[in-house]
Symmetry: C2
Subunit: 154 residues, 2 copies
């Protein structure tokens, strides 16, 4: 009968590919960010604000999994750079709602496109029939509590 666990070697094959693959993937955006004097933390905030259209601060905090102090610093820089705007939730004035400015949207899109090129090539290499397996695999890797934070597969 088969082993209850996968071989260490099979686990290493995935672990290495994830490490190098993720590094290359983030590197594409890092180069664009560096030219604007921003870092990866700014990208993540821009990404999830744009993704949601507008997002309450508490939800962005939960998504990023960082403390409000860490986020505040990032948001202050993004607002100083006129990339993000904060307004109040009309139904609850204590809550803040974040949106991107036009400039912010343009930057977020250029960051996405820097990464899209690589994703496109990689998906093509894997073939059309592999796309579903790749989505399923990555989704299964995630913490269950994060699964509600992502968009649909197709």
């Amino acid at each position: 009968m088969a082993d209850a666990f996968m071989s260490d070697l099979a686990a290493r094959a995935i672990a290495e590919r994830l490490f190098f693959g993720y590094r290359a993937f983030t590197g594409d955006a890092d180069r664009v960010l560096a030219s604007r004097g921003l870092g990866r933390a700014h990208h993540r905030a821009l990404y999830f604000i744009e993704r949601a259209g507008s997002i309450p601060v508490h939800e962005l905090l939960a998504t990023l999994g960082i403390t409000k102090q860490a986020l505040t610093r990032v948001l202050r820089e993004l607002m100083d750079a006129q990339l993000v705007e904060r307004r109040r939730d009309p139904t609850d004035g204590r809550r803040g709602i974040l949106t991107l400015t036009e400039t912010g949207r343009a930057l977020e899109l250029s960051l996405l496109h820097a990464q899209r090129a690589r994703i496109e090539v990689a998906l093509a290499q894997a073939g059309p029939s592999g796309r579903e397996a790749i989505h399923t695999f990555l989704e299964a890797l995630m913490e269950p509590e994060d699964r509600g934070r992502i968009g649909l597969s197709l």
Copy 2:
């Protein structure tokens, strides 16, 4: 005719899954590391030393893509903790060769196993026919120069 580029939405589907998936994957090891007073940087060094059996310092530097100053700090802590040993290359006394101690190997294995459980579940979800696509996709994501640093797929 089809678009020359994939849709932004399709790129976002992958980008989000990579972000959350990679975070969960590293989180498994981070919890074990934290209980030993070590960080992710130590794990990466342990991983690639073990993977190679023994490895010259310059090769580990190239693999990790960090400066020797950053690595030295990590190696000093690993050697102080009796997890890593450094000896000289007999054919070129300037070069250092790194190996893990027995304790180091045990720790590296327990870190791998913490991550293996998650990988195993994710691969099972994707189904046996998806495995090749997942390997191909992640490998295609990598920088070409890193492709020689990974083990074979099967």
